[in-house]
Amino acid sequence: MNAGTRGRGAIRGGLAVSAIGLLALAGVYVLALKHTPVEIRQGLAQKIFYLHAPAAWSALLAFGLVGMVSVLYLWLQDPRLDLFAASSVEVGLAFCLVMLTTGPIWAKPIWGTWWTWDPRLTLTLLLFFIFLGYLALRAALTDRSERARFSAVIGIMGLLLVPFIHISVYLFRTMHPMPILMKPSKPSLPPEMLKTLLCSFGVATLLYIGFVMVRYGLAIRQFDREEAQHES
């Protein structure tokens, strides 16, 4: 594939996957709001769960992949790995924003407060700021290899936080509920609710794939343009 067309396939494919993902998201809204029973103790606010948990999954998936790909970049020095990591950070921040906004909206009626400096909440906010800093750093550095190297180091630091955030509910006394799905024992959820939750996890993953494909295609094309300018 030559420099003029590289990335176009990823952009087109990503747009198609994203469109399917958005349609599926609309389906999840209908499924969650109309066809999933109301939890008696929490009321309708519990249905925020079907948005909050899948957004958290996609955000942690995105940031986890950033860290792993960053390790590979430092080893292999392949610029495509750096471009993928930067793309995954941007997409991960969008999911993290959904997690950080739906969480407090859910917390207010259940905990009686929008926010508490609970370990899991605080670490998630820290992770969000680490990756905002990642993008700010990339925007500030002009030397490409320096930018990729420094970004990879931040990406690996973020990766260290990801498993810690997941197990923080076991390590500290916390108000945040324990994992319902991603735990050694069977999921503790009625079948109708579990079905909706699994669908929303699938949709969040599909959206992540679609978004990251588009973003990666854009990054590849930008890279090739800079390369061509550099050569001329």
Binding site: L15, L22, L33, R215
Partner: protein, 42 residues
């Protein structure tokens, strides 16, 4: 707990679904605009 004692908090659910939908749509729109601009370039 009987269904009568179920808390009335539907407005929080509506707010969360609107906010999440807006974030997903705005981010999709931002990607679509950037992609369209990029695909027009030779």
């Amino acid at each position: 707990m009987s269904p009568d004692l179920t808390p009335v908090n539907g407005q929080y659910m509506e707010a969360a679904y609107i906010v999440a939908g807006a974030i997903y749509l705005l981010y999709s729109l931002s990607l679509w605009i950037r992609a369209r601009r990029e695909l027009k370039k030779q």
